[in-house]
């Protein structure tokens, strides 16, 4: 067992590694290391740890942020490949992050800095009726082939355009799978951006929407499809 020196302050080594403001940190560190084998060992370990920063910077990571929207607190997440999640369920940060951790094991899930600026901006513009198209990448990797095909097909729908579940089923070459299409759209991890709200039933009723039909109504209202809403009476949740 190595003996600790009386001045062992792991914080000093960390400050040096992190370049926290301290002009003479390297000098102090050298003095510590000369006097104490524990300090020396730690400094080497921190140095090696620090060498992984570049690898981590270039590697896999999931970034997320929360911002305000007419639907309430909205949380959005992206991998290095594109958006992976969008949610406005009142679940809290912990639950949202836990969902991402479960979906992407061994991948750091961290607060975003500025990479998600475009997503927040474009969604805000969309809610303000200033934008009809999203210019954002999505990353559907990890989802099943069938679901990816369904979400790809839905992604091709334009602002204000609606098709039926059956039509999506036909477009992906599984004409009898309209119920499965409904399920796949119901598990859409990136609603709004992947516009599953533009898929409705053959009888022109709206079908379902995960998180509540009132959001589907509100989205179709933004897109000017009041014709689809009228037959169902009032819109439940007018947008702010």
């Amino acid at each position: 067992m190595m003996r600790r020196c009386t001045t062992c302050h792991e914080e000093d080594v960390i400050a040096w590694v992190l370049d926290d403001p301290d002009a003479d940190a390297a000098r102090k560190l050298a003095e510590r290391m000369a006097a104490c084998p524990v300090c020396r060992e730690r400094a080497v370990e921190y140095r090696i740890l620090h060498l992984s920063a570049e690898n981590l910077r270039d590697g896999r990571v999931i970034r997320w942020r929360r911002f305000g929207s007419p639907f309430g607190a909205m949380r959005v997440a992206a991998s290095t490949g594109g958006l992976v999640a969008l949610s406005w369920q009142d679940e809290g940060d912990d639950a949202f992050v836990a969902g991402l951790e479960h979906r992407y094991p061994s991948t750091p899930v961290v607060r975003d800095t500025d990479r998600l600026d475009p997503a927040e901006e474009q969604l805000t513009e969309y809610f303000g009726r200033l934008r009809a198209r999203f210019d954002l990448f999505v990353d559907l990797a990890g989802l099943g082939d069938f679901q990816q095909a369904v979400l790809d097909a839905a992604s091709g729908l334009e602002f204000g355009e609606t098709v039926t579940y059956t039509e999506i089923a036909r477009r992906i070459g599984r004409p009898k799978a309209s119920r499965a299409v409904g399920n796949a759209l119901g598990r859409n991890p990136i609603p709004i951006i992947v516009p599953c709200h533009r898929v409705v039933r053959t009888d022109r009723t709206l079908g379902g929407y995960t998180g509540g039909l009132r959001y589907k109504r509100a989205l179709l209202d933004i897109e000017g499809r009041t014709d689809l809403l009228r037959s169902h009476g009032q819109t439940e949740m007018p947008l702010a």
Partner: protein
């Protein structure tokens, strides 16, 4: 007028001015004057290649100390036969400015880095956020605090707790499995 000889002259100047104290600095870390001499000698070659800006003497001195300290620690790591971890040594060569030097680092083998990445992923959420924003994204504490909706003090405490945990995890792996 700038001539080709200018950088050489500047580095020679630094070696005369800072060489002795840097050798003492490195020797203190390594406990070996001869090895320290070699490391400091290599430092001038690195300085010539990196061409840190002339700047003021205080910053040059800080730059030299920083690089010398890194090299001494890498030397110790190699001594401990952890050299397999270190794959590149680009940090001292790459930067065009002192600011860039501070942010730069070498690289770890991917296998070793994957361990660290896993460790970061397993940190408690707020420690992970703080560590990532400070250590990887290099934001200052005020900015981190805003991102995390916390005080700068809390953000800083989270960074330090997280870094300690990562270091302990890594040390544990080495004890059990030896160098990766």
């Amino acid at each position: 007028m700038t001539t080709a000889a200018e950088p050489e002259r500047r580095v020679k100047d630094w070696s005369e001015r800072y060489g002795p104290e840097l050798r003492r600095h490195v020797a203190a870390m390594l406990g070996d004057a001869e090895e320290a001499g070699d490391i400091v000698q290599d430092l001038w070659v690195a300085a010539l290649r990196a061409r840190p800006e002339a700047g003021d003497a205080v910053n040059i001195r800080a730059w030299l100390y920083r690089v010398a300290t890194r090299r001494a620690l890498d030397h110790l790591a190699t001594r401990r036969r952890r050299s397999a971890l270190l794959v590149a040594h680009a940090d001292e060569v790459r930067p065009a400015s002192l600011a860039a030097t501070d942010a730069a680092g070498g690289r770890l083998s991917e296998a070793a880095a994957a361990r660290v990445r896993k460790g970061v992923a397993a940190l408690p959420r707020r420690q992970r956020d703080a560590v990532w924003l400070r250590w990887i994204e290099r934001l200052d504490y005020a900015t981190i605090a805003r991102r995390m909706e916390a005080s700068p003090e809390a953000a800083r405490a989270n960074v330090y707790q997280g870094m300690k945990k990562l270091r302990r995890d890594l040390a544990e792996v080495w004890r059990e499995e030896g160098p990766i």
